[in-house]
Amino acid sequence: MKRAPTHSYPGINLGERHASAHKASEVVTFGFWVFLMSDLVYFGLMFATYITMIDAQAGGPGPHELFDLKSIFAQTLILLTSSLTVGLAMLALKYNLPRARIVLWFGVTLALGVSFLVLEMRDFLAMAEKGGIPQRSGFLSAYYGLVPLHGLHVAAGCLWLIVLGVQLRVMGMTDLVISRVMRLALFWHFLDLIWIGIITIVYFGGLTYG
């Protein structure tokens, strides 16, 4: 701990150029990481609840009637790509690339986030048309307790992205804002990890065992 740490928390580190910010953001990033672990337990329990309720379809529509794998595939690709672009946005900030580049990657990430949400909403509406509403069965309650929870996180991430965009403009590229962007990137990667769990357990698991 006494050596000047070059890498002291998950995700991209600010590194030597931002020495003061590096020190300050070490503590807050570690705290954020701990928060994500706590959040992970929320998701973990929703996964567990979903697993125990796969059979609780109560005569209502099940995974085979409701899940649209094409749309899931598209959402997966979109979210994965946004995980890359949020990283590139952060690198652009870290290495002081031209403003246009920063704006570009921020914009692309936001667009991808929003289109993910639009596709997800479309899925929910299509499911509702087939009678797949949360009020129908325990299985659907568990589905709607978990997948929209992830969607809500993505929406919060989008709002955060917008606020940070404004802060970059108003407050400039201060160490504080850069450290916040890094935490947003962590959050975004975390959501992608959860999404892998969702496609594996909710969608494929549902289709296999539902």
Partner: protein
Amino acid sequence: MTSTVSSFFGRLNWDALPITGLIRDPNANEIVANVAAGIVIVGVVAVVGLLTVFRLWGPLWRDWLTSADHKKIGIMYVVFAIVMLARGVLEGVVMRAQQAAGPGDGFLEAEHFAELFSTHGTIMIFFVAVPFVFGIANFVVPLMIGARDVAFPVMNQISLGLTVSAGMMLMVSLVVGEFSTGGWTAYPPYTGAAFNPGVGPDYWIWAIVVSGIGTTLTGINFAVTIYKLRAPGMGFMRMPMYCWTIICSSILIIFAMPPLGVAALLLAADRYLDFHFFTNDLGGNMMNYANLFWLFGHPEVYLLVLPAYGIYSEVFATFSAKRLYGYNSLVIATMSIAIMSFTVWLHHFFTMGQSALINAVFGIATMLIAIPTGVKVYDWMATLWRGRIRFSVPMLYGLSFLMLFVIGGLSGVILANPTVDYQVHNTLFLVAHFHNVLLPGVLFGLLAAYNYWFPKAFGFRLNEFWGRVTVALWTFGFMLTFLPLYFVGLMGMPRRSFSWEDPSFHPYMIVAVIGAMVILAALLSVLVQLWVSIRDRNKTRVPVGDPWDGRTLEWSIPSPPPPYNFAIIPQVTDRDDFAATKERRMAYPTPDAYEDIEMPRNTGIGFILCVLSGIWMFALVWWIWWLAALMTVLIILAIIVWSFDTSTEFIIPAEDVRKEHEAWLALAHSAAAVDRDLEEAPENRGLARPDLEVAT
């Protein structure tokens, strides 16, 4: 017109006020309800009146409500916890009186009795134990690890705000509408919309969710604080035992509060949106609620009791004038308890119907936890062994704890056997068991901490005579109230029953209500002690800061500590660093140089979120949708606006620090050191004369 009004006020109307019930049908039950509501209203009016008369609104706002100082936040937590403790104890007394009034129905209605045990449990766990534990931790931990504040001072303030606003919901429920009748665990389907369409369970849900968020943030804060902010040289194995217990407790919070949040929010989804997580119909599974709730509930027990273990560890070492015996084994025991507490939750529902194998596995896991706990008890006794024991108030609490807690722990081992549990499940035996663990374990520990660290916080000692009276009243009050419940429990008296018929229960109920009166006297005695101590404060001041010949860093600074705690961040070279420094005759060093100190600036965000979240909860409980939506937007906006504020810190110039510190050092060098025999005498100004012989 009516529909406009109802969409404006949701389901809120005049029937929600208890006075309406009293006018319609005056009886004992309504009178008790109205007296309770009256106490809340009179209390609020009295506080507002006193603040106005003494012109204290300004200081209250500037020095307390907007402060991000961990010491003040800690004190506010404790004040809040004691106010809620008063209500919890009163409810306990009313419940004991109701059962003592039998055989038969007593003077309360069943619904009202159910409300009482629901609020009593909810309050005692979430709004007494948790804020008290973390109030003490807030005050003590940064001082113990040589830090100037917690890792996230503003988040700390927000945690307090959320805890208080959630606690206020329980107070509001006394006046407007009614609280849940579903017990502190709020098991569906009873608390579901089908059986319980009223506002009660909703008050419970939102109070739990919001205070849970506050507590989670606190847990993150303290884990990071202890992990990252220790003074240079303080490796993990040089950390005071109390900090070990707080970091374990924080880890428990981080991983165990989410299950509670999930359970409460899914119940809310069932109630508000007609989901089917826990309903009887359409595939709902209420057994998952019990599972989720106790995934939280069992670690919760340990996150409350571990800090108390930490407090006792400090108290036993200090008042035996010895190093804590078996530090390493205590660390390992604490960590084992923390991890094992995640593996035993099923013992809360042995009787739900799962196979004998599962019950056996969890029963054995439960019994195994007794091992590290036993290690601790032996370590504490070994610490006392041949120590130079002073029977000060915290030590008396500790001794009372050692004897009573072992009984509670052993009754827990008995309950860990599923076959036994089948016999006594949901009887008063269980009630006796967990009160036996929580009172001597948690509450006595917190009261010991209150007596132990009070002089650090306020600069004067608490009155020892009244302190001893309080210990005696709590101890005997506890024994009279709860030990009889073991027996009636074994005789088969179910818990939570507002009426009973078997006359053989009667003597026990009478003893228990007498005990409840003694506990009430103990509560009053706490207040008397405080009042007497404030009155006599000029005779008990300890400005030098070390009244008990303390061993850890918090005693090496002035009492009360300056806002920045340490003029110079100490370099730690030993476990019990301050004791070691004193042994080497190197305490109170004059620093070579001072530097500017950066401290968090005051902010109103915690208070704002407290108010907004309070209104948000109220709106949700009463289905006032527009208000709930408005508050959601305002809460998000408040956080965003606050995030634009960059001037979050201010500088205390080195020169000011130097002046203050040198004045204190001069005091420390000129004050007369006192022996341990004079600990309670007015001569004790907070400078300890080290013992001639160093006990090891």
